[in-house]
């Protein structure tokens, strides 16, 4: 099956956008990604990933919601597309299959006393 490849970081960003209840734009997504992963990430990395995901068709965006602290500049609100949704689900399914294939004993922490 042909599918656009999703990188690890792209997947996280896509998941974050999908999981947003309110309108998602650069700053909120950036904060959430950091919050969820516990990693320090630059804003530019998040921007680049968002645009790339939009180019690939996983996200769409529209402008709006200018505020004073933004100097009157509008935000770009991202929403996930159907294509994006399906991609996330497929990834999840593959993951689940792989998880199920792991024998139970292998997941137990190994103890050794030698």
């Amino acid at each position: 099956m042909k599918r656009t490849f999703l990188g690890e970081f792209e997947e996280i960003v896509l998941l974050v956008v999908a999981g947003c209840t309110e309108e998602a734009y650069g700053v909120t997504i950036w904060e959430r990604v950091q919050e969820h992963t516990g990693r320090s990430i630059s804003l530019s990395a998040v921007h680049a990933t968002l645009y790339r995901l939009e180019e690939k068709g996983f996200l769409t965006s529209e402008m709006g919601g200018a505020t004073a602290e933004r100097g009157g500049r509008r935000k770009r609100f991202f929403t996930i597309t159907n294509y994006g949704n399906r991609a996330l689900q497929e990834i999840n399914e593959i993951r689940q299959q792989l998880w199920r294939a792991i024998p139970a004993d292998k997941l137990q922490p190994k103890l050794s006393f030698s």
């Binding site: 700053v27 630059s42 530019s44 680049a48 505020t67 933004r70 100097g71 500049r73 509008r74």
Partner: protein
């Protein structure tokens, strides 16, 4: 509502970001950045917030954010493959459409490039002379300045003991000190093979110093006094492919030596290229025992000395140390010659070894400059042509530019189009010029006495060639590319466009420059040949025709001299024969020991001097002005002298005949005065010359052939007789007139080369003129048509078109003559015996150039003048 100013991040960062980030990203990114900043400024110090802002902003400097979104119109392609194909196709069509023009343009430029390449290769070869020696930077030759007759002369010959003296007392500066003989011919015999070959005697360090590449044997081969080192080619000549090592060779029919090594031939562009074998110095000393028992070994200067400096020695300091080496060793009375010894470094041997009054004044480097200048000029001519023709032709294409623009061409496409054409023509020219160089190189090598090969594998060559081509293409293409492409299509197409009044001025200037250079070259060539002819016509003071010279290295003929002479005279082969120390065309020795009445005892003199046998005067054809020749009838002639007129003048004698003189304190007497003989340089003034009878063997046998029988038959008879009396020597002879002609080789060579280049320069200029003339005739087609309709004659139209060019050539002539006169006069002044530059050379050159110009222009002018006016007027 807004009551307090929003704290805003540094403006300059925003400005930079605005410039860097693509517009379609800019708004939300900048907004997000500001929002983050606003939060940080609330929670922390402003400085920290600003720093973070800067760091965050810096992360946006990456291609992804910088790349602009393509516009919604389809982009204009300038370098897409389709366009490139189109540029080439159009260029080729343009070239093919104007065949004559393309031919002129490509050939002209190719000729110029080929000349520049040949000259470049020649200069490279000259400058790399001797550089193939590994110790190039450390080798030097010992020279000396001496003062004679009030002038400082500079020479390479030094006394026999100087090598040992340098080693003993000055050795700290030198790694090797090598004494060497002059490179002379010797008979080498091995088995039945016998040749007369040139080689030298060297001290044993020579192979090391010259970093000889040994094919067999070792560089230590000269340590044994009875050994010989052969060059590869000589070893092949004697032993074929067999091993030459340890074979025996007989030198000059008396000395047996063993081959102890074979070395790779020295390259053609080295000072030692004519050394085809090396003999040990020790062998020369053994063969000439008198060398060890000389009364005053520091007096005669006859040997050469080479040194290799130690690695960090400074040559100037070493020179300063050995400067007085001769003064410390010679007799007191010779101090008046003021011998200053100095080291001449190898890098100066070939190009910078001309001295005047004890100072270096140049040398062959002048030719390097001369030809370098000529090469540059010819190239310049070719480039001027190319630019002239390109710009002239391109004006015709104004309409094309208009139409192209009207149908949507953008300026960059036009620029690329014109540059493509220019690059294509230059590319063709470059390829053609390489072909021409390959074609001409053998001929050029022969004329210039070089062995230059095409430097195919040399990156510098390609870099220079391609770099130059690119520059020419850019310069020549820039006018149409940048100027024509700026035309407004409306103006061009409506016909209101007009090239400015001064558009033709640069072209005219270029034509003038071109012809000025050509005229200088023509005059130069004429003067060089006049000078050669002038020197050739100089009275030589003897009869060259029918005189042959045989160099002897064995004594067999000398022992039977009278028998040989009698035999040859009896069978009618010769009129007379005699021995002498030097060949007639040269003088190999000079002496300083003469005293005469009224001579200032402090005066240092140096007279050319030769020992000859009876009948020498009759053999060569001396022309006596006073007195008589040596004669067997006077026993006292063993102390008699024959002198030349210059000697008489120099000594200030009123009645030279019977004038007593002394030579190293021995009494002598002048018996005859002869007309001056041209020896050594045919351009130098005559110098005092003395002859006396020889007690021993001469180096040379001079033979006057019997004028009544054919020279080929006579020479055959001489060969037979010589081989009978001297079976060990190969019979080799030279005609004196040929040997004399060799004195002019260098000048003839320069003459030939300048002729070659001048012809090319003229050809290139004419090609250019032809092109420009055809362009102008075409431009004025309508005007000529109207004139003809109104009654103009062919002649008046011809005059109309030719007048401009004649004027330009006239101006060029006025510019060129003073320049040519200045340079050539300077060149002639270097020769003591030189021709004058007469006005008629200038007149003739001017007339010639004018004729060529008219011929070139007339072809176009008459074609234009005879065209039916209806055809030219109907054309629109």
């Amino acid at each position: 509502m807004e009551n307090r100013p929003q704290p805003s991040p540094p403006r300059w960062i925003d400005r930079l970001l605005t410039a860097i980030i693509a517009p379609h990203f800019l708004e939300d990114i900048l907004g997000d950045l500001h929002e983050v900043y606003a939060r940080q400024i609330k929670s922390g110090p402003a400085r920290q917030a600003r720093l973070r802002y800067l760091l965050a902003a810096a992360r946006y400097v990456r291609p992804y954010f910088m790349k602009r979104k393509p516009g919604s119109y389809s982009p204009t392609y300038i370098f897409s493959p389709a366009m490139i194909k189109n540029y080439l196709k159009i260029s080729l069509r343009t070239l093919a459409k104007q065949k004559a023009y393309s031919f002129i343009n490509i050939t002209g430029l190719a000729l110029g490039m080929a000349v520049a390449m040949l000259i470049g290769l020649w200069i490279y070869d000259e400058l790399s002379f001797d550089r193939s020696f590994q110790n190039f930077n450390r080798i030097a030759q010992v020279w000396q300045h001496q003062t004679f007759n009030g002038q400082v002369g500079t020479q390479t010959s030094l006394p026999f003991p100087i090598g040992d003296e340098i080693r003993r007392n000055y050795g700290a500066d030198f790694k090797h000190v090598v004494m060497a003989s002059w490179n002379n011919k010797h008979i080498l015999a091995a088995g039945d093979k016998k040749f007369n070959k040139a080689g030298s005697f060297f001290e044993p360090d020579a192979p090391d110093m010259l970093s000889l590449r040994m094919i067999s044997g070792t560089r230590a081969g000269l340590k044994d006094p009875y050994s010989i080192l052969l060059s590869e080619s000589l070893a092949k000549a004697y032993f074929g492919d067999a091993d030459a090592l340890d074979r025996t060779i007989k030198v000059d029919n008396k000395l047996n030596v063993k081959v102890t090594g074979v070395y790779e031939d020295l390259p053609h562009n080295t000072s030692f290229r004519d050394v085809s074998f090396m003999l040990p110095w020790q062998l020369m000393v053994i063969a000439n025992p008198w060398l060890k028992t000389m009364d005053d070994p520091w007096r005669p200067n006859a040997y050469m000395t080479y040194v290799q400096l130690i690695d960090h020695a400074d040559i100037d300091q070493a020179t300063a140390r050995i400067k007085d080496i001769k003064k410390r060793n010679i007799n007191k009375e010779q101090l008046k010659y003021k011998p200053d010894v100095f080291l001449n470094p190898m890098r100066d041997w070939y190009l910078h070894s001309e001295f005047k009054e004890g100072h270096r004044v140049g040398g062959r480097i002048e030719f390097v400059w001369l030809f370098g200048t000529i090469g540059l000029f010819v190239l310049l001519l070719a480039c001027i042509n190319f630019m002239n023709l390109s710009t002239a032709r391109s004006e015709k294409r104004a309409k094309e530019v208009g139409i192209r623009k009207a149908v949507g061409s953008v300026r960059n496409q036009l620029i690329t189009q014109f540059f493509t054409e220019s690059f294509l023509v230059v590319g063709f020219s470059f390829a053609l010029s390489i072909a021409l160089v390959v074609l001409f190189l053998p001929f050029f090598n022969e004329v210039a006495d070089k062995k230059i090969a095409m430097p195919w594998a040399e990156p510098v060559f390609w870099l220079a060639g391609i770099g130059f081509s690119a520059i020419t293409a850019i310069i020549a293409g820039s006018y149409p590319a940048l100027y024509l492409s700026s035309f407004q299509p409306v103006k061009v197409l409506k016909g209101t466009f007009r090239a400015g009044r001064f558009a033709a001025v640069p072209r005219k200037v270029l034509v003038v420059v071109q012809f000025a250079v050509s005229i200088i070259l023509i005059i130069g060539t004429a003067v060089v040949f006049r000078q050669i002819q002038f020197a050739k016509n100089r009275p030589v003071g003897y009869t060259r025709d029918g005189l042959i010279t045989i160099f002897t290295s064995t004594e067999d003929i000398h022992k039977h001299f009278e028998a040989v002479r009698h035999d040859l005279k009896a069978n009618g082969a010769i009129a007379e024969m005699a021995e002498s120390g030097s060949p007639t065309t040269e003088t190999w020795s000079s002496t300083s020991g003469f005293e005469w009445k009224g001579k200032d005892p402090e005066q240092s003199v140096d007279f050319w001097f030769d020992e000859v046998s009876y009948e020498y005067g009759k053999t060569v054809g001396w022309q006596f002005t006073q007195g008589r020749d040596f004669s067997r009838e006077f026993a006292t002639d063993s102390v008699a002298l024959v002198v030349n007129e210059t000697a008489v003048k120099f000594m200030g004698l009123q009645n030279p005949v019977d004038e007593p003189m002394t030579w190293f304190k021995k009494p002598y007497k002048i018996i005859g005065v002869i007309k001056d003989i041209v020896v050594n340089s045919p351009y130098a003034p005559h110098r005092p010359q003395f002859f006396c009878l020889s007690a021993g063997q001469g180096n040379v046998i001079n033979i006057r052939l019997n004028p009544t029988s054919g020279s080929a038959a006579s020479v055959a008879k001489i060969k037979e007789t010589f081989e009978k009396y001297d079976p060990g020597s190969p019979f080799e002879y030279e005609f004196v007139d040929e040997r004399y002609a060799q004195k002019f080789l260098d000048e003839v060579r320069i003459g030939k080369l300048t002729t070659f280049f001048s012809v090319l320069a003229i050809l290139i200029s004419c090609l250019g003129l032809f092109g420009v003339a055809s362009f102008i005739a075409e431009q004025r087609t309508k005007e000529i048509g109207v004139r003809k309709v109104l009654g103009a004659t062919v002649l008046s139209v011809w005059g109309l078109l030719s007048r401009d060019f004649v004027l330009l050539v006239g101006i060029a002539f006025l510019i060129a003559t003073p320049g040519a006169y200045y340079f050539l006069n300077g060149w002639l002044q270097k020769y003591d015996y030189h021709t004058t530059i007469s006005w008629w050379i200038f007149a003739l050159t001017g007339l010639g150039t004018l004729t060529i110009t008219l011929l070139t222009v007339s072809f176009q002018a008459i074609k234009a003048a005879t065209t039916n006016p209806i055809r030219s007027l109907r054309s629109e």
